[in-house]
Symmetry: C2
Subunit: 307 residues, 2 copies
């Protein structure tokens, strides 16, 4: 059986995993060498720089990648799969690039669909994480991947049926950094306990239907009148934004949502989903590795690594 080397190569991060033939993580290596850090299309050189020793030590290990490495700004642009893809369709959508010695490297496709608003939407990398997360599960599932561009993904069995992206994290970031709201924000006098209270207050406003564009201005107006301490304007804005996303994304309010990711943001999203009446479970780590392992097994089963 195969022991694949798999890589989750995103915009700002590179995460490589050496897997056992059962898909267990034997070794993990992570760096900030995302595709933005690669100059002049030198992706092969960067790969050797990061895990050249792994490749040399096991010259027959299949190498698979997913993430923004398959985008126009990556190693090679791989077409998005469409429809309601499962393991087989995503595996079929993979494309090969070659190292200087002729060794093949497989890159997963992205996935695109018309989202809940009838609008074209795209993901790259999340489709592979979803394969990892939904392995062995039955029935309808909802996944939420919070972040710069949060995604809400519907899955049936191990088949993605649709998703919608929300630019929540990026809007928060540009407003804090570059808008008039940022001028109010200070860390001085901020407390964790109060932070939660003001975050919840923002969520409550969103839940009550506050439009975002007037809600944003309200951050300033309320701070002017000391209705929000300046140290907590950021928490309030965060609640308003995440609350708005979840209000619009989470239609069946009594459902279980599987959160994919890690860190502080997962805690905030879990809090809001529960506030809206949902229940939450956290996914395992290394989902990209788990999904790429399944893709490797599928390609192996088709004899793709024997050429």
């Amino acid at each position: 059986m195969i022991c694949p080397i798999v890589i989750d190569w995103g915009t700002t991060s590179f995460r490589a995993y050496r897997l056992s033939d059962q898909g267990k993580v034997l070794e993990k290596r992570a760096s900030a060498n995302g595709i933005l850090a690669v100059k002049d299309g030198q992706f092969a050189a960067m790969l050797l720089d990061q895990i050249g020793d792994w490749l040399a030590n096991d010259t027959t290990a299949p190498v698979l990648m997913s993430g923004m490495i398959g985008s126009r700004q990556g190693w090679q642009e791989i077409d998005y799969v469409t429809g309601k893809p499962g393991l087989s369709e995503i595996a079929t959508g993979m494309a090969r690039v070659s190292l200087a010695d002729g060794r093949a490297v497989w890159i997963a496709p992205g996935y695109s669909c018309r989202n809940a608003d009838g609008q074209i939407d795209v993901m790259r990398g999340e489709e592979t994480q979803i394969l990892g997360a939904s392995a062995g599960r039955d029935g309808d599932q909802i996944y939420c991947l919070p972040g710069t561009h949060s995604k809400w993904v519907s899955v049936t069995g191990q088949r993605i049926t649709g998703f919608t992206t929300f630019m929540t994290g990026e809007v928060f970031d540009v407003l804090c950094r570059y808008s008039i709201l940022g001028k109010l924000m200070t860390e001085e006098g901020r407390s964790e306990e109060e932070a939660q209270r003001w975050f919840d207050d923002g969520v409550q406003k969103a839940k009550a239907g506050m439009p975002l564009l007037s809600g944003f201005f309200g951050v300033r107006a309320r701070a002017l009148f000391s209705e929000i301490p300046e140290a907590h304007t950021k928490d309030y804005l965060s609640g308003l934004l995440i609350g708005s996303e979840i209000r619009d994304a989470f239609k069946d309010k009594d459902r279980l949502v599987t959160l994919i990711g890690s860190g502080h943001l997962i805690g905030l999203y879990g809090r809001v989903i529960e506030n809206f009446g949902g229940t939450v479970e956290l996914s395992d780590e290394n989902l990209a590795a788990a999904g790429l392992y399944q893709l490797a097994c599928h390609l192996e089963g088709q004899g793709q690594f024997c050429e």
Copy 2:
């Protein structure tokens, strides 16, 4: 009768008017010396620099100002009036500062209220423009003042009954400049005719209820698939934002809306309000001057300039 000198002194602009005793504009002087251009609180010096000759030529003319000059960052912070103020309440809210020679300069207050969402909201300068715009009018009126922070103001007779601010212009600006959407935007190949079409397309999405946070990401996804030409992503985003504002602000869709302002933006707002079923009229120019003239007459009638 008095021939007042009135000044609309905002964040980034200074506009002074020498008025006749009937309120006619005899002379107008405008510069980019808004309050941000004034260093170390030297507002009196800047005023003399801008209109020292007017002040010297008519030493008894009352001098009145409105706008951000009455804010914490301005000459002196003047308390907001509240409730449902008309001419008398706004005049009563004015405060005086003095020039070195003891001459009084009157500054209009801002206005604050709880807006349609129950949120505290603030304006500074618009209350005076509304006095100018609503002079001699009866019954319920709606005013829209598009801009960085657009305002929708309800008026009955000459009395302001409430308003809501939308951060539309500023959100557009920070997204174009600093978000991933800005990277797509180009002027190359842009045509005015197509611009209108894509603007309308964005409006249509907002009208259909598209959430802003997913709509923003859609600008990128649709451009990736060439569903929107990159040269028109900015027009589409503008339509999505202005459409969202008007969807949320303009509740009684068959009403007459008086647009206050000038330039390209007024045309866009008029187009959208009509798209939503409203009718539009444009206000006169120099509304701040007209409002300040009324305040001057009111104070004159009280004998405030005789001390």
